[in-house]
Amino acid sequence: MSKIHVSTVINDDPVEYLCEPQQSLLDVLRDELNLTGSKEGCGSGDCGACTVIVDGRIVCSCLMLGAEAEGRKITTVEGIATGDKLHPVQQKFLEHAALQCGFCTPGFIVAAKALLDENPNPSEEEARYWLAGNLCRCTGYDKIVRAVLDAAEVMRAEAAE
Amino acid sequence: MPHVVISGDISRRFTGGEREFDVEATTFRRLILELDRRFPGLGRQIEEGMAVAIDGEIFQDAYAAPIGEKSEVYLIPRIGGG
């Protein structure tokens, strides 16, 4: 079977690649484009470790075909920081020790950024439900939720300036 | 003389059911050698399968662990963890 040519935008860069028809976006990111920040924890959309933002919406990249990225705008964990400046969510994850092994972290960072883009002032409950599609087995979520709420506060203060 | 206690299972396998002994030893290494001399095979069992509690403190793989004249010594299953 011949490969499919795809033109897309990933982390603000125009990207072209060839992929197999059955290849997931996650496999394309990891195996073809060497963007290994998105992780595979389940391959079935249950763990959220592969979360990316596609045209403003969070998606499990393991559930989307590489071919479906044609013409879309994709943000992966590698595109969350601006140059060497971390996004507030990333900074707060570090300050709150909101990661232990760090494997689920990229998915949480992407999902949390998308949450705060949509809702700058989430309640604890809203944050917990938004992040319920991301599994973490190490932290018990406590410090993750605190980090996200703290990042929201910082971003609101920055926006008010 | 230090007082040594082993579990029932180990006693059934190696000592004919005897569970408590007074053993002349000032280190764990000497204790193993002394018990193995009395009950052949027990030494290897202790080395590979057991931890030792000397006066309540647990040692694993520690020949040099000191044993006092009045020490209470328990041989217990080895401990790992997650």
Binding site: C47, V77, F103, P106, R137, D142 | V5, Y74, G80
Partner: protein, 756 residues
């Protein structure tokens, strides 16, 4: 050398971990993130049968598929003899380990590896698996622990005779071992009791549930030198086991620690590494194997399922007079469940004058169990801590007071023998009693439960080296994979000893050829044992720095003091010279004797027992049976928290795993012995919306054996939650759940039965 009781500048603070930025930006390299030139992909074919004889494996069709480079089966591995060793986390047999990695003669569970293929792409490897033809003779199987113990049960191993009973049995059995601990006179103890409670509690196997599937890349050069990159709890363990299973000299394997995406004990064994090595050797290519989530569930872990029978006797005032506990643990396909530690932990927290604890290690047609956080203890404590609650209710006593009355203290003789010393169980109970949570009001339909947990913790072998760089910055290298932030703790302890800022100390995890042997990351040992080695190495560096300052000043090294990162002239020379900062001494190191570095290689002893007490509030939905955790407080004696945030994280994470064990998680088998829920959709681990914040309360009773007073902390927090939740459910809904998980259908059934 001790820092206990001293004023500390770094230890006890919360600096940002040095590996953190890589982890929040996606740059950290985990097991599956490695690519090497010329690499091909390995996949494993697994048995669809719970128990079957392998009659024939025909790989011819697979090998003809373009892109396929090699197929291996058990015939490609040495058929090693039975050899028991305490190599990793439990006594195990390398013959069993080999057969668990690749089935020989028989497949013993659904998901057991029977063959593997390597091909140029993952898709070709996947297609080739289908072309490997395996002929099986399907055999009767047994899943349930008590059915496996029955005299007429299908036997997994014809050569397995129960250890620990006399006379030695003449017939093989699925019971690998019986162990027993006794204290006092159990019959007398029950005769003295005013109240006796006898109950039976059960659990299902649960998976460690690390989010990162097992992954590795292996290379075998033509001269026999091998390299392995893998995600494990111990790259020295990987090296040792692979060498043993494949007959390779240890010096010919260089194993590197990938960042590890969780383990919880489940990565203290090997699964894919020897298979990748065998495929690499046969194909001449580097081979990468990454498990799918389904493979993780079907082929690795889990923790033992179990039956726990508990009988407790007490006086009217609550004083325990006797306790009898029987533990039946599933080992999975090969012997080696954690029933030994289970037996020791069952009653360890209590001062019981008369006791009898018996454990059975039972094989059955499930994956071989692997360590899972405090292996063996959560099962035993689920039973004992629930039964204690039932006893408290029968006596009309407060469950916290009942625990206080019977709590083990220094000088108390444990049921498994030793006399306790330097333990902090009573302190955790006192902290629970004093915590506002214990007295907070509850609403209708809500209930509060309490339960405690104990784990030994371990020490063991660790190597650490500390190097002073030319500019006075410092590197600390250890052999301990960092699974939860241990690198920052290493840097903090070294910074404290040297008197420098933690940012001046960079910690790394060195590969097996770059640092001395280090036992794996498990048993809550790293901050204790490897931290002890790092502290020792840093202290030797301080000695060296003092010598170098003495050379510069032309005085005796004994006349030099080290404080706050500087050498000071002391004694009669006090004030004679300007203090010399570390950077200054480092800059001149060539002139004073060469590079400044030190290594410490130790076998750490005296890890310090760990005790914890948890308080849990729940609300039970009487219409659906759903249990909501409203509030949770975990109190633990941690000795000394080096980085309190990561210590709290251990408590919060352990609690959450325990809550999953309590409410949702279980293996479900179909009538043919196949696992029905090998994915995170049907094997439901707790998610963010299932939980409230978890209050982690750190009690610090220093461990005198550690220079900073550290005790292991990672294991204890998973022990109390199951009983704490059950005890809370009883008070919320008036129903006693004795079978885990306490999923909504079971809770609802219990409520309906209670209504009559």
């Amino acid at each position: 050398m001790t820092f206990i009781g001293k004023d500390l500048k770094v230890v006890g603070t919360r600096p940002i971990r040095p590996d953190g930025v890589d982890k929040v930006t996606g740059r950290a390299n985990f097991g599956a993130d490695m690519t090497v030139p010329g690499m091909i992909w390995g996949k494993i074919k697994r048995s669809p049968h719970a128990h079957a004889r392998i009659l024939r494996i025909d790989a011819e069709k697979a090998l003809r598929l373009p892109g396929v480079k090699a197929v291996v089966t058990a015939a490609d591995f040495p058929n090693i003899a039975a050899e028991e060793a305490f190599a990793g986390e439990a006594i195990m047999d390398f013959r069993d380990l080999s057969r668990n990695c690749m089935a020989r003669d028989k497949a013993l569970y659904d998901g057991h590896a029977v063959a593997a293929v390597a091909a140029s792409t993952p898709a070709i490897a996947e297609a080739a698996l289908e072309l490997i033809d395996v002929e099986y003779e399907v055999l009767p199987f047994v899943i349930d622990v008590e059915k496996a113990m029955a005299a007429d049960a299908p036997l997994l191993h014809g050569e397995l005779f129960t250890q620990g009973i006399e006379p030695k049995p003449t017939a093989p059995s699925n019971i690998a071992k019986r162990i027993n601990f006794t204290k006092g006179d159990i019959e007398k103890g029950f005769r003295e009791a005013d109240v006796v409670i006898e109950r039976r509690y059960t659990t299902r196997p649960v998976h460690q549930g690390y989010i990162e599937p097992h992954a590795c890349v292996a290379t075998v050069a033509a001269d026999g030198q091998c390299s392995i990159w893998s995600s494990s709890q111990g790259h020295f363990m990987v090296r040792q086991y692979c060498a043993h299973l494949l007959g390779i000299d240890i010096a010919n394997i260089r194993a590197a620690a990938a960042e590890i995406g969780g383990g919880f004990g489940g990565k203290t064994l090997i699964y894919v590494e020897p298979v990748a090595l065998a495929l690499a050797k046969k194909s001449g290519h580097s081979v990468k194997i990454v498990m799918t989530r389904e493979e993780v569930f079907r082929g690795t872990g889990p923790a033992a399922g179990s039956v726990i029978e508990v009988k407790l006797g007490a006086k009217k005032d609550g004083r325990l007079t006797a306790a009898e506990v029987t533990l039946k643990y599933q080992a999975g396909a090969f012997p080696g469940s954690p029933v030994g530690p289970g037996c020791m932990c069952a009653l360890a927290m209590y001062d019981v004058p008369n006791a009898n604890v018996t454990g059975y290690d039972v094989v059955c047609n499930r994956p071989k169990v692997a360590a899972y956080r405090a292996p063996g203890a959560p099962n035993a404590s689920w039973g004992v801590e629930s039964c204690l609650d039932e006893l408290a209710l029968a006596l009309g006593l407060d469950p916290l007071s009942l625990r206080e009355k019977n709590a083990a203290k220094d000088g108390v003789k444990a049921v498994h023998g030793p006399t306790w010393q330097n333990i902090g169980y009573a302190e955790t109970l006192a902290a629970a009693k004093a915590h506002p949570h214990w007295r907070a009001p509850l609403g209708a339909g809500q209930g509060r439960g309490i339960a405690s947990g104990f784990w030994f913790n371990i020490g063991g072998e660790s190597t650490a080296s500390v190097h002073v760089n030319e500019d006075g910055t410092v590197v600390v290298a250890t052999g301990s994979p960092d699974i939860g932030g241990s690198r920052v703790s290493m840097a903090m302890m070294v910074a404290e000893v040297l008197g420098v800022a933690v940012e001046r100390v960079r910690p790394i995890v060195a590969d097996t050829s770059s640092i001395g042997y280090t036992f794996l990351t498990g048993g809550s040992r790293v901050t204790f044992a490897t931290g002890m080695a790092a502290t020792e190495a840093a202290s030797r560096v301080v000695d060296e720095l003092k010598k170098r300052a003495a050379v510069i000043w032309e005085i005796s090294p004994e006349a030099v003091e080290w404080r706050d990162g500087m050498a000071y002239p002391a004694g009669q020379n006090a004030g004679a010279f300007e203090p010399l900062p570390l950077a200054e001494i480092a800059f001149r190191s060539a002139r004073t004797g060469g590079p400044i570095s030190a290594e410490a290689a130790i076998n750490a002893q005296g890890p310090g027992a760990g005790f914890g007490t948890h308080i849990c509030d729940v609300e039970v939905d009487k219409e659906t049976g759903a249990v909501k955790i409203l509030r949770y407080t975990a109190i633990q004696d941690v000795g000394r928290a080096i980085h309190p945030a990561y210590v709290e994280g251990q408590l919060q994470g352990g609690v959450t795993q325990g809550v999953g064990w309590a409410l949702n998680e279980e293996y479900i088998y179909d009538k043919d012995g196949r696992l029905e829920n090998p994915g995170f959709l049907d094997y439901r681990i707790p998610v963010a919306s299932d939980l409230p914040m978890i209050d982690a309360v750190l009690v610090e009773v220093p461990n005198p054996r550690h220079p900073f007073g550290v005790r292991g902390v990672g294991e204890v927090p998973i022990i109390p939650p199951t009983a704490a939740v059950a005890n809370a459910i009883y008070r919320a809904a008036g129903v006693r759940l004795r079978d885990l998980p306490m999923s909504p259908p079971k809770v609802l059934a219990a409520i309906d039965e209670e209504k009559g």
